[in-house]
């Protein structure tokens, strides 16, 4: 029973991480319908900027955190301006391949600078944040990540529902031409959504780095794990990303715990194929039925 509860807790915390990682991905898709294959690299970029600021520049944690978020924001903005903007209106494969190429560039750069080694942050979280549930101990970083996840979720939920920029973003995602003709500044919406998504990714990267250590390969492969999560939750639903993340996280830990550890990494993709066949728009995605 303890084993079960431990798996449950691990699964939920892993799921929250997936959800966090997926949130930025969904934001880009929601406003520009771009599948971002470079998302894992954005996560890694955030984690490494934070690492550089904390260990090399020796900045205080809070300041480093703020600067990392700012840096990620600018990075997202620059990516959109330099690479994505020329492709507005081009066919899907070019956009997808562009993000694949970007992923490759970022990964190569980060490998050149930091190599494939595993880094860890200096311990900066207060230990008294950990929660004891019966026999199960939840370490502080999970508590923090859950809290951050919830804060961001609420914030972006409200942002998309009520703020004018959020509504612009949704309108652009829904119909680019129509929103353009109604006076929405589509370019600004794209730039903003990439910047925000990169910010969210940077934040998730820091949290992930705190938990698992920072390694280019791990973080970039996590960017691919996002796909089952977002398909399950619905490609355009931020809440769905969290729920999807939880389900995939639980599925992974339970498969790893009870069935076989090697199946653990592939089970999300097996589920993914089935979801695509049965319910391609996911649990909370917008149902678009097009029979061709």
């Amino acid at each position: 029973m303890d084993f079960f509860i431990q798996l449950l807790v691990n699964g939920i915390s892993l799921g929250f991480l997936y959800g966090l990682a997926a949130m930025g991905f969904v934001m880009i898709f929601k406003s520009s319908s771009v599948l971002n294959f470079a998302h894992g690299e954005l996560l890694a970029a955030g984690a490494f900027i934070f690492l550089a600021l904390v260990t090399w520049a020796k900045l205080p944690i809070f300041l480093a955190f703020i600067i990392t978020l700012l840096g990620s924001f600018i990075l997202g903005f620059v990516i959109e301006r330099l690479f994505l903007r020329p492709l507005i209106g081009e066919s899907l494969i070019y956009v997808i391949m562009l993000t694949v190429g970007l992923a490759s560039i970022f990964k190569g750069l980060m490998l050149l600078i930091w190599g494939g080694n595993l880094y860890v942050y200096p311990d900066f979280l207060p230990a008294n944040l950990s929660i004891q549930l019966g026999n199960v101990n939840i370490p502080p970083v999970y508590v923090i990540s859950t809290a951050i996840g919830l804060i961001f979720l609420t914030f972006f939920g409200l942002f998309f529902k009520f703020s004018s920029q959020g509504i612009y973003m949704r309108s652009v995602a829904d119909n680019q031409t129509a929103s353009l003709s109604l006076g929405v500044n589509v370019r600004r919406v794209f730039a903003l959504s990439w910047a925000i998504a990169a910010l969210v990714a940077g934040m998730s990267g820091i949290v992930l780095g705190t938990i698992n250590g920072i390694n280019v390969h791990d973080l970039s492969s996590l960017g691919l794990k996002v796909f089952p999560v977002v398909i399950l939750g619905g490609l355009d639903s931020i809440g769905g990303a969290i729920i999807g993340g939880l389900i995939i996280g639980l599925l992974e830990t339970f498969t790893g715990g009870y069935l076989s550890p090697s199946l653990r990494d592939v089970i999300p993709y097996i589920v993914l194929v089935f979801i695509l066949m049965i319910r391609p728009y996911g649990l909370f995605g917008l149902v678009e039925i097009e029979r061709v």
């Binding site: 970007l102 990964k107 993709y269």
Partner: protein, 363 residues
């Protein structure tokens, strides 16, 4: 084509414009006899010179280009002509390699039979992952093939009864019509004859109703359905053909490499094939060959470059391996081509050609 029915005719090299009178003329593969003779001459030179002049390393690179080109043509049929994006081509290549290896070792199939059989098996596997395209378009299919990539990789590593897992399989020497293919040179002929054959098939598929249906689906799937093209069937067919090419190339590769492991068939390989298609030019068979040449040469140049950098000691102290540099240059190549020449090397080639076409009076 109707010209040939009249027997001998005058060769014409310089068109002064487009004078097609019948629709069949639009379908000709070579617009002028210049292309036809040029290609023939090129092939004669290829088969006559390369085996004589090239050293073992150069022949190895040329063979790799040939194998990659076969697989890239397959991917181009799916991506460039049918408009369905696949991120699982590397895994299908691996399925072909393993199918060939297993057929050769367990069932003792001869080389000439094992390779097409491996292609057929891969086509079937590919079509299973193509089934999600029943209901899904573009981006969902991409994700489905991504899942396919990981699932196939997992199966290759963990179905140890069949694939011997991480141990790998050692293939017998290929023999064809009594000749044993035991060197780069003899494989050169096999690979390039297959490439020519597969290129002819691909070029001609695109001129039939099947090819036209593929292109119609790419350009507008709703209109295609409206015109009476059963798009699910054709998408699946395209998937099958594309996987057949991957499997065929994979099986030849397995024989050529003699021993195979599960390692090379990862997502990176799939991305590499997509890069070949994009850099070569989507929707161009010749472009796939250009793309394959470009990427294979790029790989070799990078390997050579890292060797030099390591040996001269410029970068000593920095642990420089090929992997990050390769990732970086690869990504740059993809991104730069998409931004500046999205129609790829085939388009560059067309521009160069058209500059010479009316030379010296090109205005």
């Amino acid at each position: 084509m109707s010209n040939e029915q009249r027997g001998m005719r005058k060769l014409h090299y310089h068109p002064c414009g487009n004078f097609s009178e019948r629709y069949e003329q639009e379908l000709t593969i070579y617009e002028t006899d210049f292309g036809r003779t040029g290609v023939l001459l090129g092939l004669v030179l290829l088969f006559a010179l390369v085996p004589v002049i090239a050293g073992p390393y150069l022949i190895y690179v040329i063979n790799m280009i040939g194998i990659a080109a076969i697989a890239a043509i397959g991917l181009n049929i799916l991506v460039g002509f049918t408009g369905q994006i696949s991120l699982g081509h590397g895994a299908f290549f691996g399925v072909g390699a393993y199918a060939g290896a297993i057929l050769a070792t367990s069932l003792h199939f001869p080389f000439w039979f094992a390779v097409p059989a491996a292609g057929l098996i891969t086509a079937m596997v590919g079509m299973i992952f193509g089934i999600p395209s029943v209901r899904l378009k573009g981006l969902y299919l991409t994700i489905a093939t991504l899942a396919g990539q990981f699932i196939i990789e997992y199966v290759l590593v963990h179905w140890e009864g069949l694939t011997k897992g991480t141990m790998g399989i050692i293939l017998p020497t290929a023999t064809i019509f009594g000749f044993s293919l035991d060197g780069d040179r003899s494989f050169f002929f096999v690979i390039y004859i297959s490439l020519i054959l597969m290129t002819c098939i691909a070029v001609n598929i695109m001129r039939t109703r099947y090819g036209r249906a593929f292109i119609a689906i790419r350009d507008n799937d709703r209109a295609a359905e409206g015109m009476g093209i059963p798009i699910f069937r054709y998408k699946l067919l395209s998937f099958g053909v594309s996987s057949f090419y991957a499997g065929f190339a994979g099986a030849i590769w397995a024989y050529y490499m003699i021993s195979i492991t599960t390692e090379p068939f990862n997502l990176g390989l799939s991305v590499e094939y997509l890069a070949m298609v994009i850099i070569g030019g989507m929707g161009s068979i010749a472009g796939s060959i250009f793309g394959a040449t470009f990427i294979v040469c790029l790989n070799e140049v990078l390997r050579w470059l890292t060797d030099i950098l390591m040996n001269t000691g410029i970068l000593q102290g920095i642990q420089l391996t090929m992997a990050p540099l390769r990732e970086l240059v690869f990504g740059l190549a993809i991104v730069l081509f998409i931004l500046f020449e999205p129609r790829g090397l085939a388009e560059v080639w067309r521009i160069v050609r058209s500059n010479f076409r009316l030379w010296p009076f090109s205005y």
